[in-house]
C-alpha cells in the first residue's frame, strides 16, 4: 500500500468536521409568537397610558439591548468567537445569528417606542423642559446607532443567514461578515454607554 493510499484511507476513517446544519428558517419561527406577545403588550401599555408598563418596557428593553451589544462586541467576539476553530465558529454562527435576527429588532422596538411615549408623558419632549437638550442628544445617539445597525449590522446578519443555507457556504465570506457584525455590535455597545449616561442623568435630576 502506498503512502498516499494509506493517508487516504486514514482520512476516510477519521471523523470529518461536520458542516453545520443550515437553520430550517431564516428566523426561528418558534420565537415569533413571543415577539407578537411582547409587541401586543407594548401597544397595550401605550394605549392604556400605563406609566409603570412604559417604564418597564423602556428599562428592561434598554438594559437587554445595551448588555447584549456590549457582551457580543467586547466578550463574545474577541474572547470567544475569535478563539474558536473554523468549524466551531460556523456551528456557533448557525445557531447564534437566527436568534439575533429576532431578538435585537424586538428589543429596539420595545425600548424606543416606550421611551418616546415615556418622555412625552413626563413632559421631557417639551422644549421648555430643562432636560430637553438631553432628550434631543439621546435622539442623535439613537439615530447614529440606527444607521449603523441598519446599514452594517443587520445586512451582515442576514447575509450570513442566507450564506449558511447554501449547499457549499463560503467560510471566508461568513468570517468576514461575522467580524463586521461583532465589531459594529461593539461600537453600538460603546455608544450605548453614552445613552446610559444621558438616561441615568435624566432619572436622577
Amino acid at each position: 500500500m502506498s503512502v498516499a493510499t494509506s493517508a487516504a484511507s486514514r482520512l476516510e476513517l477519521e471523523p470529518q468536521p461536520a458542516r453545520p446544519r443550515p437553520p430550517a428558517s431564516i428566523v426561528p419561527l418558534a420565537g415569533l409568537p413571543v415577539v407578537g406577545v411582547v409587541l401586543a403588550c407594548l401597544v397595550a401599555a401605550i394605549a392604556g397610558n400605563w406609566l409603570w408598563a412604559l417604564d418597564f418596557f423602556h428599562v428592561v428593553g434598554g438594559a437587554l439591548w445595551t448588555s447584549l451589544d456590549l457582551f457580543i462586541g467586547l466578550v463574545v467576539g474577541p474572547c470567544v468567537i475569535a478563539r474558536l476553530s473554523i468549524p466551531a465558529r460556523a456551528e456557533f454562527t448557525a445557531r447564534f445569528m437566527p436568534a439575533m435576527a429576532l431578538i435585537m429588532p424586538t428589543l429596539v422596538t420595545m425600548t424606543l417606542a416606550s421611551g418616546f411615549q415615556l418622555a412625552r408623558h413626563l413632559g421631557l419632549l417639551l422644549s421648555s423642559d430643562p432636560h430637553h437638550a438631553w432628550i434631543v442628544a439621546s435622539f442623535f445617539l439613537v439615530g447614529v446607532m440606527a444607521v449603523i445597525a441598519i446599514g452594517v449590522l443587520e445586512p451582515a446578519n442576514l447575509a450570513v443567514l442566507f450564506e449558511l443555507r447554501k449547499p457549499e457556504p463560503d467560510g471566508a465570506l461568513i468570517a468576514r461578515l461575522m467580524r463586521r457584525f461583532v465589531y459594529t455590535a461593539g461600537i453600538t455597545g460603546l455608544m450605548q454607554i453614552g445613552t446610559l449616561i444621558i438616561m441615568t442623568r435624566l432619572a436622577s435630576t
Binding site: L125, F139, A146, P155, E168, L173
Partner: protein
C-alpha cells in the same frame, strides 16, 4: 465550507452600485428630519427644514433604486424574496410608530411629514437589506 470567488473583495461587488452607502445617506436625511420634528413635539416648529430633508431623502432613495434597476447580472429572485419579507416587517414597525403619533394627536402638518418620512424609511431599508443578501447569491435560483 469553501473559500470561493465570492469571498474575495469582490470583482462582482465592483460592478454593483453603492446601494448600501447611498441608502445610509438617505437614512441619515430621513432620521435627521424625524429628530428635528420629534424634538419640537408638541410644539409647532417651522416645517421647512423637515420638508427639505424629506425631499432629499426621497430623491436619494429614488436615485438608489434607479442605479440598482440598471444592474442585470444580479440575484433578483433572492432580492425580491428578502425585499418582500423585510417590507412586511418594516410595515409593522412603521404602522406601530404611526399609531403612536396618531394616538398622541400630533398636529396634522407634523404628522403628515412624519408619516411621509416613515414611508421613505420603509422603502429604503428593505432595498438595503435585500441588496446585502442578494449580492452574495447566484444570479439564478439553484435547481431543486
Amino acid at each position: 465550507m469553501t473559500a470561493s470567488v465570492a469571498s474575495q473583495p469582490d470583482l462582482a461587488d465592483e460592478r454593483l452600485p453603492p446601494v448600501v452607502p447611498v441608502g445610509c445617506v438617505a437614512l441619515v436625511l430621513a432620521i435627521g428630519g424625524v429628530i428635528y420634528l420629534a424634538s419640537f413635539i408638541p410644539g409647532h416648529p417651522s416645517l421647512a427644514p423637515a420638508i427639505g430633508l424629506l425631499a432629499a431623502a426621497a430623491a436619494t432613495v429614488a436615485a438608489n433604486a434607479g442605479a440598482l434597476a440598471r444592474v442585470r447580472a444580479f440575484a433578483w429572485w433572492r432580492f425580491w424574496q428578502v425585499w418582500r419579507w423585510t417590507m412586511f416587517a418594516y410595515a409593522i414597525i412603521a404602522g406601530m410608530l404611526i399609531y403612536t403619533f396618531v394616538y398622541d394627536r400630533i398636529p396634522s402638518g407634523q404628522l403628515s411629514l412624519l408619516v411621509a418620512t416613515l414611508a421613505v424609511f420603509a422603502l429604503d431599508i428593505p432595498v438595503m437589506l435585500a441588496f446585502s443578501v442578494a449580492r452574495y447569491q447566484p444570479p439564478h435560483p439553484p435547481a431543486p
